[in-house]
């Protein structure tokens, strides 16, 4: 790597020219159409020539005869010259591995103590399972069919139930910050659900109660669409609904032809309550893959597939927003 000393987050956003050179010099991975003034907060030390490692027993166990031509070429030739990133220590080729659980464990981790976080996670799953088994044995035959005993389905469903459909973003207009409803990309929604769950369990529990106990309780409540995490999701939806009149402040509303959603305008006028099921907003960033950690959260995420957003309004203060201020303000949402 080049001998660059300063990391990304100390670079002052005002020094755009130096940044531009610096970004090119590092050879950062994504050749995206960068908006001017946009710095990357999360970046990778790997250049674009590095490819992801193959973690999976099926790939390596394939006999030479079964491989297709490209795979054979890949195996024999590319391996000599291909640069491969190091596989993260937390990723295994175990059949029981689940990326969502891994992500949740990482978010629960404090001080890099993944052993402790993982043990808390397993204890939580065990607690969920035991509670459900108790309920199962106490229930009658008809009810037994409805009781879900798999802790993994409960976990996934609980997080899915806790995902908000629409979020809020502070937009600077006329010297004031207004909370504007914004469609959230998938990964942001997943992140918010997990973040709310963890924060809830850390803060709102009795001092002597252990995390697995509290977390299992919250997961079961969220699974049944009750509890504080779901309430938080509904609160966010209500806030977005309340501020729906400001939806046109954001640049995405202009791109979509003046309204955030086809029926959003009618909602604001008619006063219909917002339905809380995740059908309406089209999330722009939904095409991005799950582990897209390097692309910064920038509202509608700009992949290479998107055309240049020409309707970007330069006159108002919105376009000169940058990650430094935005990242700090957006913490309000989480």
């Amino acid at each position: 790597m080049k001998n660059i000393v300063e990391p990304a987050n100390t670079a002052a956003p005002a020094v755009k020219a130096a940044q531009g050179w610096w970004v090119l010099a590092l050879g950062l991975r994504r050749a995206v159409s960068r908006l001017p003034g946009l710095t990357q907060v999360r970046w990778s030390r790997y250049g674009p020539e590095y490819r992801d490692p193959q973690i999976g027993k099926e790939y390596y166990r394939k006999a030479l005869a079964e491989l297709t031509e490209e795979e054979k070429y890949e195996r024999k030739e590319l391996r000599k010259t291909q640069l491969i990133k190091a596989a993260p220590a937390a990723k295994t080729s175990s059949v029981f591995e689940d990326p969502v659980i891994s992500k949740f464990t990482n978010m629960m981790m404090k001080g890099g103590n993944r052993v402790l976080a993982r043990s808390l996670m397993t204890q939580t799953l065990e607690a969920v399972k035991r509670k459900q088994f108790e309920k199962y044995h106490a229930a009658s035959a008809e009810e037994q069919a409805t009781i879900e005993r798999n802790p993994y389905t409960i976990f996934h469903q609980a997080l899915k139930n806790g995902e908000p459909v629409i979020g809020l973003m502070p937009i600077l207009r006329g010297g004031h910050f207004y909370q504007v409803p914004v469609p959230l990309p998938d990964r942001r929604r997943r992140f918010l659900a997990m973040k709310w769950m963890i924060t809830e369990c850390r803060e709102k529990k009795h001092r002597r109660m252990l995390m697995p106990e509290k977390l299992s309780h919250e997961l079961l409540e969220a699974f049944h669409n009750q509890g504080p995490v779901i309430k938080k999701k509904h609160d966010m939806h209500k806030m977005a609904e309340a501020n729906c009149a400001r939806a046109h402040y954001g640049w995405w509303s202009r791109e979509a032809g003046g309204s955030l959603l086809p029926d959003r305008g009618s909602h604001c006028h008619s006063g219909k309550p917002l339905s809380n099921d995740p059908t309406s907003p089209q999330s722009r960033g939904s095409s991005s893959p799950w582990y897209d950690a390097s692309t910064p959260y920038g509202g509608p995420s700009h992949d290479a597939n998107d055309g240049p957003s020409s309707s970007w309004d330069d006159t108002s203060g919105t376009c000169s927003w940058n990650e430094a201020t935005y990242g700090g303000l957006h913490a309000k949402d989480a």
Partner: protein, 363 residues
């Protein structure tokens, strides 16, 4: 350590109430004759235990896996000659292999055969974290443990109620100026006295042990002494005197009495012991052999004994355990039912029963 409890089958057949194995926090179900005496190797293999408080809650039943060490021990017990001095059997093995549950199996068998069970669930609990130590009234040099003694007396009472009225004490015991137990009174009175006057609980335990040892040869009953974690009796304690100096185990009256009990100078029963590193003090984690855990003093005290090794699951036992979990839907992960999943479980647990149980708990 008896954190893993015997699971009793809540079957239709009811035996005498009060005939359950003490040491369990809740044992509402009475024993059922699920485990046959003449059980061959292809008997229905049920589960191993879980380290939870109430195992009955998870599966609505309680089962043990019948394994070779337990069967061997049962065969020896069936062929005991009660005229000879009591034979000592020592179950040893690595952590999590099933020593405690084998002991429970043996206790269950003997209870069904109407033996008098003297079961200490965990001897390590008597040498660490004890509060309220008192100087013994009987012998000034020793120390009493009222809390441990009274809880043990309670369990002993519930387990052996039938015998407490039959066995009579053979000498007079004076508790204090006003209370005494005359000669010929049933042993239950001594136990009652120990329970009501907690200060005398340790002495009551000592009396019970002495009387049982004396009378076991008479043939009225057969005595089984079962101690889990017997290496605690010859190890070190973490208890301190008032002067903050560490105590040796022989200064504890309970330990002193128990040491006398596991000597083979009586007849009319058997002694089954288990070594345990899990609760032990100042012993390395990998130690499991009798010489390592007992030390020279303990080994000489227990010598001669019959060692019985308890090892990890064989492939059939592992398969049977996983099948049991699958039948009871304990393994909920969809990949756990596949061959790949089972191979991975075998690899991760190395067929160690304890480790397998902890893995399957969250899968």
């Amino acid at each position: 350590m008896l954190k893993r409890m015997t699971r009793l089958v809540s079957g239709a057949r009811q035996l005498d109430p009060g005939r359950f194995l003490h040491g369990e926090p809740q044992a509402p179900q009475s024993l059922a004759a699920h485990l046959d005496n003449q059980v061959p190797d292809e008997s229905p293999r049920a589960t191993s235990c879980t380290s939870e408080d109430d195992p009955v809650r998870t599966f609505n039943e309680a089962c043990l896996m019948v394994r070779k060490p337990a069967l061997e021990l049962l065969r020896y017990l069936k062929n005991t000659n009660f005229a000879h001095p009591a034979v000592r059997y020592v179950l040893y093995g690595e952590t999590g292999t099933g020593k405690t549950l084998s002991l429970c199996h043996v206790i269950h068998f003997c209870a069904k055969q109407d033996w008098l069970i003297l079961h200490i669930p965990d001897a390590h609990l008597w040498v660490k974290n004890c509060r309220g130590l008192l100087q013994s009234a009987y012998n000034k040099l020793r120390f009493d443990q009222p809390v441990e003694a009274s809880s043990w007396l309670k369990d002993f009472q519930t387990a052996n109620e039938r015998f407490l009225s039959q066995i009579k004490v053979q000498e007079k015991y004076v508790w204090n100026k006003r209370e005494s137990t005359e000669k010929g009174r049933p042993l239950g009175e001594v136990v009652e006295q120990g329970l009501t006057r907690v200060k005398n609980a340790t002495d009551a335990v000592g009396i019970v042990l002495k009387e049982l040892k004396r009378q076991s040869g008479s043939g009225a009953f057969r005595l089984l002494v079962a101690v889990d974690g017997v290496n605690a009796l010859w190890g070190r304690t973490t208890l301190r005197r008032e002067e903050k100096s560490l105590m040796a185990p022989e200064e504890l009256a309970l330990v002193h009495g128990l040491r006398k009990m596991v000597r083979n100078d009586w007849h009319g029963g058997a002694i089954v012991l288990t070594l345990s590193q899990t609760g032990s003090l100042f012993k390395p984690r990998k130690a499991y052999l009798p010489q390592e855990l007992l030390g020279k003093e303990g080994f000489d005290a227990l010598d001669p004994f019959i060692p019985i090794l308890v090892s990890n699951y064989s492939p059939e036992e592992f398969e049977s355990c996983v099948q049991y979990y699958l039948e009871n839907s304990w393994l909920q992960h969809e990949k756990a039912q596949t061959e790949e999943g089972k191979k991975e479980l075998l690899f991760l647990s190395n067929a160690n029963p304890g480790q397998l149980e902890r893995l399957c708990a969250y899968l």
